[in-house]
Symmetry: C2
């Protein structure tokens, strides 16, 4: 067990203990944002045959210098288009239509004059013009999408074009949340004096859903009572991650640490040298990672991004390291910090480079600092105050890097 | 009706005709990503009362120089904490717990020594330490979230903290898709020779869902037959936008233009001076915007981003103008262009500034160019070829600006 470690060491320990995730077959309609566990290959050429790229006329070899062609009669038994186009023949084709053998080029409607059964082309004909060659987008056995790809809309189109109706993806990481504070009541209940409504459950559920995970349940000690050990053990068999939120301090340990130990989890680390919320911890029980995050909402959100999100991404085979940039701080930060401090900010790229604004409400309890937050200013121990215009190191929360 | 206009004029016409969107009440669980039509205000202070920011002890006025206090007995009738803390008294409190009147500061467990009924504080006490003042995050009647805000996870937490269980948001833009090409078959059907599987429906559905819209239905002329006018009219009463995809060229007009006119839509413009796909068009029928996009998948995706996405965002009160930056092209583009051309690229910010890679497969039919695409290189008429290392104008597809 590691005590009071640095952030980078915590990342390393979490990656070493990253839970494994199963795979499942989903319909294409449900595949957006899901991640491929292995490469997908083209079963056939795309397009499967030579096709027209425009609405117009397929032209055979040109018999003469003035580019006049004889129009073929429609051939209903082959979908209106003959199998072969002979010298001097032309036939109307639509975008995506299969081209007859012998097609030299396709010419759009705008560039021809039709006179009865004859057609004259205005301008030059370049062989191959407006022809989509079989396999020009993807040839049979080409890699369509590589392992680790997050399925985007264009990939849905590509898979549909190849007749793929379902696709194997990583399961969604299943995550349960347990709020350990006695004085936190779930949404929908009216708090008594000394109680507070929970904000962490709804906030974490939002963050988790954005990262492709699913919150299976949120438990409240104030409702369930003190038998949290059974709850934790039950959840272990159903989830890859359990997030413990809050937990009161007792006899040098807090509820969440005691709970982990009680359930027989291996404690990976306890305490990370950061502000806000140095009392963060992590454990592992079978294949389930258990994280203990601060109950103060702004600190909880910092912890989520630093400790939970990287594991949720990594489980799915997605890059998990945040991009870090140097940014000019537009407004400054008045405080000096003894520990390494993560200050909530809003980063924006300007023509002159990255700029970051320190958001108002930097106490660990204040949600105001998370509204519009897309970056953490990474202030080293002994750092600050930050002058307006000073350069600072920034962690971009929405951007990841492979390296 | 405007013919063969510039992109900026098309944007202006579309914004002028942007359909209006209704509002609806949704549960907080369903509010992530939705947009507020008006400001939300705090009904009460947050926190509602003075609270402890840590697990520790609330301290009254200090009676002596050595900072020793007498521990209050628990007061079960007030949740364990007395109403008032007198001089020299201390009482245990948990994070978020209400503080008695007369509390000067809260001191965490780690900084005290408890000896029987007495407590000694190690170090100095700064009045106000570890106290969350009532209303310090949000005071009663403060604006919580402004109109036009897209609800993010932290906002869910904030609303939950204030006991707000449902919230008024813009309805999701409802969009129908009609594939007009005779030779396109829907997913699940086996194409005959000369037919192709649809890729545009699944791709557009993915793009639309990412922008907060919902695809109500996808229709195929190859299945429905030629009575598309009735389909269009029916859909008008149920949607804010209808996207016509493809449509074969006939007598100087294409199916989609004829369909719009036939249904009595006001044609806003036809033809935009861009490549790929200059034959794009737009019309309006009652409150429904009708867009006619290219049937070639890569051109269709360009059209979607240039013409449909800005309207879908604008309807919801979101900024719709793409951020445009100058980027260094890492690999170049071999072609010279006569019209203004949108080249699919992948943009990445490096320490030296923006860089963009031209993606492979730039024909209008090739989906390969959309895999990983997050930017359009905006090549002016007569522009290109682009040398590797040359600076180009780039439209960032995932980033928007208010100005």
């Amino acid at each position: 067990m590691h005590q009071d470690i640095g952030l980078e060491q915590a990342w390393q320990l979490l990656q070493e203990q990253c839970p494994s995730l199963g795979q499942e077959l989903v319909l294409l309609d449900d595949a957006l944002g899901r991640v491929l566990p292995r490469n997908l290959y083209a079963k056939h050429d795309l397009p499967p045959e030579h096709q027209s790229a425009v609405d117009g006329y397929a032209l055979g070899e040109s018999p003469n210098a003035d580019h006049s062609y004889r129009l073929c009669q429609d051939q209903p038994e082959t979908g209106g288009v003959p199998e072969v186009l002979k010298e001097g023949q032309a036939v109307p084709v639509n975008t995506g239509g299969v081209l007859p053998r012998g097609t030299v080029a396709v010419i759009p409607h705008e560039k021809v004059v039709v006179e009865g059964q004859y057609l004259r082309v205005l301008g030059n004909i370049k062989p191959g013009d407006n022809i989509k060659r079989a396999g020009e987008d993807f040839a049979r056995n080409d890699i369509l999408l590589t392992a680790g790809t997050q399925i985007e809309p264009a990939a849905l189109g590509l898979l549909a074009a190849l007749g793929i109706g379902e696709v194997e993806v990583f399961q969604k990481p299943r995550i349960a949340i347990i709020c350990l504070a006695d004085n936190i009541v779930p949404p929908g209940l009216e708090p008594d004096r000394g109680q507070m409504r929970d904000s962490n459950g709804p906030m974490l559920s939002g963050f988790i859903s954005r990262q492709g995970g699913v919150v299976t349940s949120v438990h409240y000690r104030s409702v369930t009572g003190t038998s949290m050990k059974n709850v934790l053990e039950d959840l272990c068999s159903q989830t890859q991650m359990i997030i413990l939120v809050g937990g009161t301090y007792q006899n040098g340990k807090n509820t969440s640490r005691l709970l982990m130990e009680d359930a027989g989890a291996q404690v990976l680390f306890w305490g990370v040298l950061i502000q806000p919320g140095s009392h963060v911890g992590a454990g592992k029980l079978d294949n389930t990672l258990i994280l203990s995050l601060s109950g103060n909402p702004a600190a909880c959100a910092v912890h989520y991004h630093l400790f939970a999100a990287p594991v949720i991404r990594s489980m799915q085979g997605l890059p998990w390291k945040y991009r870090q940039v140097v940014a000019r701080c537009s407004n400054g930060f008045a405080k000096r910090t003894s520990s390494r401090r993560l200050v909530r900010g809003k980063a924006l790229w300007r023509d002159s480079g990255w700029e970051v604004e320190v958001l108002p409400g930097q106490k660990p309890s204040m949600l105001r600092s998370w509204l519009g937050c897309n970056a953490l200013i990474d202030l080293p121990p002994g750092g600050g105050p930050i002058e307006a215009g000073e350069e600072v190191q920034v962690i971009l929360l929405g951007e990841y890097t492979d390296v």
